[in-house]
Amino acid sequence: MTLELNRLTNAVAEMGRTIAGQEQTFERLLAQARTWLAEFSDQGGALRDAALKIGAAVPTTEPLAAAFPLPHVPPRFTVIGADGAQIQPDRHGLALYYLINVGSLVYRHGSGETPQARSVPQLCFREQELYEGALLVSGNLLDVRRDLAELTHLADLVEAEPAGPTLALVDGTLLMWLMEDLPAQGRKEKFDAYLAQLDRIRRKGAAVAAFTSRPRYTEVGKLLHLAAMGGDPRQAEGQPNPLERLPDGDIFAFLASGERSALFVSPKPINATVYTSEGHTIHLCYVNVAGAGEKPVVARVEMPAWVAETPPLLELVHGGVVAQSRIVGGFPYVLARADELAYVSGPERQRLEEMVGTAMLAAGLSPSASSKALYKSMTRRAGR
């Protein structure tokens, strides 16, 4: 409310000029990256071990510069999207609790049927839900619980789906890399629970994938620099990488409408240490989901090994993601709707807090927010 925009006029103008100036450098780096991609396209096999060591995208058997056209999808197939939102516990609020809300949409292509929309809220307030040891479940800990809730809901829907080609989609990533920053206590149980959901989807014969819009990963750029350094990891890490800030998505903007890039394996440490042993090694590719004649829209798509290595499932991911993205324009329809169904608005948050207050009063308590929350509610009320 006190952001004095007039004081930012000069800075914003300078920002515009700076971005324009960076454009030339960007084009030069892009040309460099694509030259290397073509030059080292067949050297993937020799780069694999070194790539893993330095956190670069790990090549598969597909040539690095390969482009695969949009495959045919079955006339009827199902795409299920799920997404989650949460209300963080608020120590200034009336009571300590958090909420996870998972939204989902089951969309049957070619059926003409109304998609099935769901929204499943879960209120967590018991001691055993609120704490992990001495830690309050919030921030990354809560994000992990939300991710698990999303995937569990997705697996439930996949299992309930009649036989037929089915693609389960999440927004973002299948790699729970957030866990790397969490305390070791309970980490294995969390991974086991998450991977168990992938197993459920695999047993049903469905495909599962994660969709990242406008990805800013630089793992392929790192791989190309490694290749330019003769595949020597020490040299690659010792020498500055000119592509270190060039998003991989831009490198693959040469893909024609509907095409996908070669498959790579994610170099995230947990992929090798956790996912691989359970057969879920996460693979990835880039897909231009834009329609013919439109400006490229490149997304990153992740999938477990059992999808990447099963041609009908890989084609369902590729074709399904493009079909879905073309409905809205650049983003899967099921994920846009799942996000909408999961989203908890400010007024809804406030109403839930009021309901909590009422329930506490009914139970004979006298709920009160902290003084800080009270002053915030006064000073921030206008303009909301």
């Binding site: 949409l105 969309y107 049957r108 292509h109 059926s111 003409g112 049927e113 109304t114 998609p115 929309a117 409905i327 809205v328 324009g329 329809y333 846009a336 709707r337 909408e340 109403r351 009021e354």
Partner: protein, 200 residues
């Protein structure tokens, strides 16, 4: 009187004269202009009655993306059947029920924020429209389409009755209006025209 178990929304803001409620119901169930609704009053069993005089469907950017292209049938159905369109409905208070007695006056207290709003079942509407004293509250309301509201609510009340009783109800209502609008024959004629049975 039977309660309709499914509320149409919750009260957003209220005064004794009128109140607004928000609902995110499925599109076929959007409450209609001129419908009778009921909110529970503070005393159990008591109620506040109102007439819907405005229904605003909020702007929706997501739908805008589709109106310029030809979306697949599944998307059309999703948008129509599943999307929860935010709707704000304005209601004019026309009376209340107190201790089982129906009163056609401004209620002593408005409903409270977050109270449920229910569509009135036919029994409730018939009981409420046994008399026409509430006409005055409609005709005196500023800045709302009073004549159209009156006509729409009378049709709702007529339709809550058995077909054989509808015409006599509308004739009685017309007589009551004649007393109230006798000094403004042009307006009276307009309202009477719109409740003539052949207008149904």
């Amino acid at each position: 009187m039977t309660d309709t178990p499914i509320p149409v929304g919750r009260v957003l803001r209220a005064s004794t004269r009128e109140f607004a409620f928000g609902c995110r119901v499925l599109q076929p169930d959007i409450p209609a202009f001129g419908s009778f609704v009921r909110a529970d009053a503070r005393t159990p069993g008591d109620a506040i009655y109102g007439l819907i005089y405005d229904v605003v469907v909020q702007d929706d950017l997501f739908v805008r993306r589709f109106v310029v292209v030809e979306p697949p049938e599944e998307v059309v159905r999703d948008q129509r059947d599943n999307r929860q369109v935010p709707i704000e409905v304005s209601v004019l208070s026309v009376g209340y029920r107190e201790g089982g007695r129906i009163v056609h006056r401004i209620p002593p207290q408005p409903p409270v924020t977050m109270d449920h709003l229910y569509p009135c079942p036919p029994d409730d509407i018939v009981a409420f429209t046994q008399r026409f004293d509430y006409f005055r509250l409609i005709l005196d309301a500023p800045a709302i389409p009073t004549d159209h509201l009156l006509a729409a609510s009378l049709w709702a009340a007529a339709n809550a009755r058995p077909p054989s009783a509808r015409e006599s109800f509308l004739v009685d209502a017309g007589r009551a209006l004649t007393h109230l609008l006798g000094g403004d024959l042009l307006r009276l004629d307009g309202v009477l025209q719109s409740i003539r049975p052949e207008q149904s």
